[in-house]
Symmetry: C2
Subunit: 331 residues, 2 copies
Amino acid sequence: MSGERPCRGEFELIADLFAPLSRNAPGALGLIDDAALLDISPGCQLVATTDTLIAGVHFRHDDLPDLVARKALRVNLSDLAAKGARPIGFLQALSLNPSIDDAYLQRYAAGLAADVDRFGAALLGGDTTSGPGPLSITITAFGEVENGKALLRSTARRGDVVCVTGTIGDAALGLACLDAALNLPAPLAEDLSSRYRLPEPRLTTGRALLNLASACLDISDGLVGDLGHLCKASGLAATIERDSIPLSPAARAAIAQDSRWWESIFGGGDDYELVFATAPGRVSELKKLSADLNVALTPIGVLSGPEAGTGVTVRSGGHPIDIARPGYRHR
Amino acid sequence: MSGERPCRGEFELIADLFAPLSRNAPGALGLIDDAALLDISPGCQLVATTDTLIAGVHFRHDDLPDLVARKALRVNLSDLAAKGARPIGFLQALSLNPSIDDAYLQRYAAGLAADVDRFGAALLGGDTTSGPGPLSITITAFGEVENGKALLRSTARRGDVVCVTGTIGDAALGLACLDAALNLPAPLAEDLSSRYRLPEPRLTTGRALLNLASACLDISDGLVGDLGHLCKASGLAATIERDSIPLSPAARAAIAQDSRWWESIFGGGDDYELVFATAPGRVSELKKLSADLNVALTPIGVLSGPEAGTGVTVRSGGHPIDIARPGYRHR
């Protein structure tokens, strides 16, 4: 991997823990070379994305190492999902520090191995460094998508319906449970915190949306913020109905306790659901697709033309409501 | 870039400083999307590599920001060079901290812009995060190479001649000058320290070696260590002649001062020259190629084995000599 040797035992680490994760990928060159080689299918484009997760910033120091590894991979796979891409593999740049011991790395690698198998995305190479900072994981994921078919943020059309996959806000509420800011019965709290710890990249749904969505992205910063990115890129405004936003039973319980938790629904990140636009005439196709995929696909609003600006308005009971917390910090 | 928003002003930063670096790459999607799209030329494979540089570990805290940016890109381009690949573009995962101010980032981006133009490798996307650790830069570089033609580490043959590009050891000696461990006249010290600060990826030479070298890698950890990687991957042993190793005038001056600086020639990293193997019958072609490229291409030894193991022996005056310091720390 890349020729750096900043930490003692890097080569042994790679050979023991990480080389097995590349065994189905000849282009990984056994993780002993400078770079990986990838074949892209004829008629396809490469899709590439990178995301960094830093301990204490993007995940909790006490999160289990196997879940940390899986989350680091999955947030990248979620970006591929948002493009409608099929995953191929990934590079991993791992920055360690002296507090990360072999036991941690073994559990980390075991978690990564589980998701390599599950998503069919091999480890293709990377770099392992060591420094004084917190554990930091940068994964660069590769996928492929048919030429010219990738879902973009910028191609929504006026009049399109705004839809989301799954349920919204669970991860932020789960973090609130872990931080003891929100108290719910244990099974509900567990449902929410598992959404925070282990997101589910919507890869199959993203592929299915290739011919149905006009624009798409994944919700990492929060519904309103990310929909705002779609609006800005497409030059359109969005109006969404608060009471159409799909919520889990646990999220409903949180809101029943205190309506201020709506702010976590609007602005809480880490859901890794998809928000997408589709033509009104195609909304009827969503129901069948939802049943086929066993994934909720819910219309929550509409896009209007550039004269209305490029903002996001949330309505409830026929009136716009204030959004107090549009941004989001992952921890 | 990727939907993360951990630092205030990330979007402004990207729009102001980094989006201009993507202007010649439609697949960068203006750096406002989740992922980049890349077209690979027909008949070619993608080559992908990633390297992390951490302040205080891989570069000095007082290195100039423009040079830091260029080095971060160039060490990755060097990995592409070692594969014989043509660069296409790169993703940048930048982990900032509160001590990195706008002035630093402006100079950083200006340096990166200079090398984007110089090497024709556009910024295609990335992720910007902020944490408590030192500045950390992970670049993932993409190139392409004709199917099945990439130079590997594992394909050297018994009897092949070992060659290197350029001069060896300069970067490590340059670091010694910067650290005041080595005192040389200012012009010589400057020659050496510039090799440390701004390596020259051997992209043109790598392309030219596609049909000439049997195996290749770049020297990031040190000549003996990296040649050892080639040996291990190819299952061969290397014997190199100390007095054949090409040295710069400044390196000769260092050795004239104290012969212990040989250790920096053998084991000093950050040179980013190429070490490659070629069939003995093709050594005569190197001279012409060297003249065409204006790059020194110097035979320094031979590969034998596998009965001789997979180690590297350095000889001088007909006898093997001890190598006291095979490893290398970048700082």
